[in-house]
Amino acid sequence: MAASGSTETAPPRPSLEELRDRARAQVRTERTRNSAIAVVALVIVAFTYRKTEFDPAQLILHADNMGRVFAGFLHPDWGEFRAVADKALETMYIAILGTFLGTVIAVPLSFFGARNLMRRNLAGTIAYFAVRFLMSIVRSVPTLFWGILWVIVVGIGPFAGVLAVTTFSVGLISKLFSEAIEAIDWGQVDALTATGANPVQVVVHGVVPQVMPYMIANVLYSFEVNVHSSTILGAIGAGGLGLLFIEYMGLFEYPRMAMLLIVVIAVTSAIDYSSAAIRRRII
């Protein structure tokens, strides 16, 4: 901007001293505010300490219990490895099928749940809020509760587990997909709109290419989450490893629990690691 020839009269510029005072005052205000936040946080933590009957002394008092468990873990019992491996595979099958079905249902929903695509007219806005509301309800019920509900409906077995994982995945994946769609570069959408393309064409040629890698990454991430949650689904009779774990625990078979946990750790960390490696490569 040229200073000469300007028609508006500029307001008087503040002195350097004034500006420095203002900067100091700003630092003081920020410091006060941050201290207040820290105090509130500490009060909350202290409150939960009382409300959860938190008592470190018990750890020492029950050291013998801990000793028994750890002793079992030092000598894992591989005797029932076959049964555990079978159930571990079943857990994987539940997670794979549940993630697939969840993705199939979530893909169309996610476009309706994307603010930037939908909130351009009244009908779109209504659909957007309906989908968002439904998704948040589905997501707020934990997978384990979904499992209990589906066991009541279809009875004990892995099928209930697949339904539970599917239900939860729809909520999770449609949220992740919607957010991927909301983060697209709108210029590419404008460019296709300007060619006279209809909304379906704009989504197929302009939105899908942009979000594809994020969608694949999100499916893999959901698969990781689903392997974790289907591990415990067996505890309520919805198939997979969980039931064996509960059995061993009831019989105080710590060496067998240890073996089972080793299998769980091996399987889930192998999946987490490979899934993370793939996600890094495609984004």
Binding site: Q188, D190, A191, G196, N198, P209
Partner: protein
């Protein structure tokens, strides 16, 4: 505005150049006023009729706005989307006529060798040539160019404007081009419209744009 003209829109930042262009193809809705294309009121159109209207006006952008993860060829093919009809609009594939037209446009912009690479691997000048090929594949009557050279270095800017002039002269496509650079506007325009704060403050031949007019547009003379 007569058919076949090369019109440059100039004016300071925020004066309404982009808004004007985007109102023409209704990427933005004008608050007031009407846009006519060959006697047809574009401002009253909706749905399919609006899309047919848009098809007659191609657009190129300052940020090129290519689908970055798609190939150059697919980007140029998207220029054909407005010409697709019926069930084909729901498929990701293109007819062989559309394919032929896309390759012709690529050849015309001399970027056909890049057809199979991803759009985000190109330089800025190449991206704008792909964007112009996409616009040409659309077979428009008007080409709206929204600051097409503002993200490019001076030499590449001239190359892009030469292509725009060629499209204007050879194909008889009317060009409306917003541009910051006054010298370039004077060199390429048949007619210059200047805007300031949303108002037209100059409308005439490039040669007649003198110091007095310049002061009206920018409120001062030069940068020093």
């Amino acid at each position: 505005m007569p058919r076949g003209q090369f019109l440059c829109v100039i004016g300071p930042s925020g004066s309404g150049k982009s808004t004007l262009l985007r109102c023409m193809n209704r990427l933005l809705e004008p608050d007031s006023g009407r846009v006519f294309l060959a006697g047809e009121d574009l401002t009253s159109l909706h749905g399919a009729a609006l899309r047919r209207g848009r098809r007659r006006m191609a657009m190129v952008f300052q940020q090129f706005n290519l689908v970055k993860r798609s190939t150059v060829l697919r980007n140029v093919l998207t220029g054909r989307l407005g010409h697709q009809e019926g069930w084909r609009t729901y498929l990701p594939s293109f007819s062989s006529e559309d394919q032929d037209r896309a390759w012709q446009s690529l050849k015309r912009l001399e970027i056909e060798e890049k057809a199979n690479v991803r759009a985000d691997s190109l330089s800025g000048g190449q991206m704008q040539r792909v964007a112009m090929a996409r616009a040409l594949a659309q077979q428009p009557e008007i080409l709206l160019a929204d600051e097409p050279v503002a993200s490019l270095d001076p030499e590449t800017a001239v190359v892009v404007l030469e292509y725009l002039r060629d499209i204007n002269r050879t194909d008889g496509i009317t060009v409306v081009c917003s541009i910051h650079h006054l010298e370039l506007a004077k060199r390429y325009a048949d007619r210059i419209v200047a805007m300031r704060a949303g108002q037209i403050v100059y409308d005439g031949l490039p040669a007649a744009l003198d110091d007095a007019a310049y002061r009206r547009i920018y409120g001062r003379l030069g940068f020093d």
